[in-house]
């Protein structure tokens, strides 16, 4: 296990290397180059910019620039914002918790809804509820969930205007003007964005769980379990569920990457103060050090998510051996 882990960790190094080269390329492709923010500053003349470029080594060949850039990244220095001049890492780490909280909540929701729904549909194949579930998941699979989120916000806002009752917050992470951290208020704000972000996940999990349950139900060991007189509950939980869970675990990595990508659009719609929102705001202002710093952290999160799901894969399926 330790050896497998070590090897998997080593395998992520070339991936991160190539991605860092791509991102370095992006920084240099940005119009105006790294000193762009100073080009419009009346206190700094074009000659000063030239001199600064020389002093900062920005006139060096790109490979040499890359090495010093990478050295800084390894020390946790992602540069500074063009506008606020704050270190990128400071701005990003401020936003990281909100994104992780939203992502975890969405993952939890997709497991909690998708797995029971899929198993139920699989166990009652062809029944009325199975048809209803399949109908709605097919539709939900095609509808952009962020659009659904918009519609819900508009409905909530209109109910508020009509009746004065605010069923769910329209955005943000806490009620404005509230002092300190209130867990209930936080959960109240978290619910809708997490539900919307998690919809893609539970629909996918539900569909896979259903077909996987059907597959497992046809296996000999399920018949054996029934034959030796085990109760339905034990058969379902001990034998069917555990085997049917395997694809869910493999899918989790993809879902996690999707959640990270999706964070940008959902955080934007729900004014969630996470990294996605930061990336959006920074990119609008063409504050590329921040955008690219966020992209880098997103990538690392995605790589870690994949790694974790590989490990979990062996945990749910004892037939997988790490050698």
């Amino acid at each position: 296990m330790t050896r497998y882990l070590a090897r998997r960790l080593l395998q992520t190094i070339p991936v991160l290397f190539i991605i860092s080269v791509l991102q370095f390329g992006l920084i240099n492709a940005a119009p105006g180059g790294p000193l762009r923010a100073y080009l419009l500053d009346p206190n700094i003349s074009p000659e000063d910019v030239k001199r600064l470029e020389h002093e900062y080594g920005l006139d060096q060949p790109l490979p040499i620039q890359y090495i010093s850039w990478m050295g800084n990244i390894l020390r946790g220095d992602f540069g500074r914002s063009y506008f606020t001049h704050r270190p990128v890492m400071e701005a990003v780490s401020e936003r990281l918790p909100a994104t992780i909280e939203l992502g975890l909540a969405a993952t939890l929701i997709s497991y909690l809804i998708g797995i029971p729904l899929g198993i139920y549909a699989g166990l009652h194949r062809g029944g009325k509820i199975d048809h209803v579930i399949r109908f709605f998941t097919s539709i939900l699979n095609a509808v952009p969930h962020w659009w659904l989120g918009l519609i819900i916000i508009v409905l909530l806002a209109n109910t508020k205007l009509a009746t004065g009752v605010l069923l769910l917050p329209l955005g943000g992470i806490s009620t404005i003007g509230k002092e300190g951290f209130d867990p209930l208020d936080f959960l109240w704000h978290l619910f809708l964005p997490a539900l919307m972000l998690g919809t893609g996940g539970w629909v996918t999990f539900g569909r896979y769980m259903r077909s996987e349950t059907l597959e497992v139900l046809g296996q000999d060991f399920v018949r054996t379990a029934h034959a030796k007189g085990l109760s339905e509950r034990v058969v379902v939980f001990r034998h069917v569920l555990r085997n049917a869970l395997i694809p869910v675990v493999t899918l989790s990595a993809g879902i996690f990457v999707g959640l990270v990508s999706g964070a940008v659009i959902y955080e934007n719609i729900f004014s969630w103060p996470g990294m996605g929102r930061l990336l959006y705001d920074a990119t609008i202002k063409k504050d590329y050090p921040i955008s690219i710093g966020v992209l880098f952290i997103f990538t690392i999160l995605a790589v870690l998510g994949r790694l974790m799901s590989d490990i979990a894969y062996g945990w749910v399926d004892p037939r997988i051996r790490y050698e």
Binding site: Q11, P14, V15, I18, I19, L22, L26, A29, A30, P31, S138, I139, N141, A142, V143, P144, W146, W147, L148, L150, I151, V154, A157, N158, L161, L214, G218, V257, V260, S261, G262, V264, I265, N268, G276, L279, Y280, T283, I284, K286, Y288, S291, I292, V294, L295, F298, T299, A302, V303, R306
Partner: protein, 310 residues
């Protein structure tokens, strides 16, 4: 296999159909058989018809706006802005008084063009690389898998946002960038299939009579992965439409005044209290298109799956 057999045996009426098929009907080819099953899948046929209709509507967008709605998609008339859906403006008008239905139809042309161009380019890359990797294996396969791992680690939407802010993207550029990022799924599926096909006897037979690698790949293996490719086209078209709409919604995709479903939605957000209809129609257009493609692709997959053959 067993489940299909029991199902068939259990449902009355199927047996006589089976007999009729087996005894009286002429022998059917793979495609004939697939077509037969596709025709009998009501949801798939419905999806196919809706999708066909949407495609025709998109192709005929100039004709529709000239002869049916009589509006130009970008013609501004402030006297009629925020009109509600009515007989003159089917979907109402937006804040500039532009006819919303006409704009939706023109936007469909862009979305579907992006979808098809993406499918064509990404599948060409994906199929060729997947075919070669599955067929040759070895270092080329390892290299390709490593590259796919790298691509899969990149969060696309954030990257597209950054690219979109650096370069102004038209629909062609957008489709090409999406293809460059999105070919990995197809190549992995094709590779998996080729790995099993290349073990078959007819490949060995072709090699024995001296066929070249290229001939074996393109003449003998490619036709056998074609059915999977057709299904991937469907899912590719849908995913490109969804990605484009997200990107345009965030403001980094195709720019106004060119209408796309995504930028129409983004625009409608400023007028939700004044005219909530503006937020409804583009979303329905996206959902209907994607749903019809999914139904069609699902149906094609079932129809061409030899294990479900009756």
């Amino acid at each position: 296999m067993a489940t299909v057999a029991t199902q068939v045996a259990a449902s009355p009426g199927t047996k006589s159909t089976l007999d009729a098929l087996a005894l009286k009907g002429p022998a059917r080819s793979f495609w004939g058989d697939a077509w037969y099953r596709f025709r009998h899948d009501r949801l798939a046929v419905m999806g196919g018809l809706i999708f066909l209709f949407l495609c025709l509507l998109a192709i005929a967008a100039p004709w529709v706006s000239e002869h049916i709605t009589h509006y130009d998609p970008n013609r501004i008339d402030l006297r009629v802005n925020y009109a509600l859906p009515s007989a003159t403006h089917w979907f109402g008008t937006d804040e500039y008084g532009r006819d919303y239905f006409t704009r939706i139809v023109w936007a469909g042309q862009i979305s579907l063009s992006i979808g098809f161009l993406f499918a064509a380019v990404s599948l060409t890359i994906g199929v060729v690389l997947g075919l070669a990797a599955g067929y040759y294996g070895g270092w080329f396969d390892d290299l390709l898998q490593a590259i796919i791992n790298i691509f899969n680690a990149i969060p696309f939407l954030p990257l597209l946002i950054i690219i979109g802010s650096m370069v102004r993207l038209g629909w062609v550029e957008l489709a090409l960038i999406l293809s460059f990022l999105g070919w990995t799924g197809a190549s992995r599926q094709v590779r998996g299939l080729v790995l099993s096909i290349k073990q078959r006897d007819y490949v060995l037979a072709a090699r024995t009579v001296g066929a070249s690698n290229a001939r074996i790949m393109f003449q003998h293996i490619l036709p056998n992965v074609f059915s999977i490719v057709l299904v991937i086209v469907g899912f590719d078209v849908a995913s490109a439409i969804l990605t484009e709409s997200s990107l345009s919604f965030l403001g980094f995709g195709v720019q106004p005044p060119t209408a796309t479903w995504g930028n129409m939605l983004s625009n409608s957000l400023s007028y939700t209290t004044k005219d909530p209809w503006l937020i409804v129609f583009p979303g329905i257009a996206i959902s209907l298109t994607v749903l019809s493609v999914f139904l069609l692709a699902d149906g094609l997959r079932d129809a061409m799956d030899p294990r479900l053959r009756q």
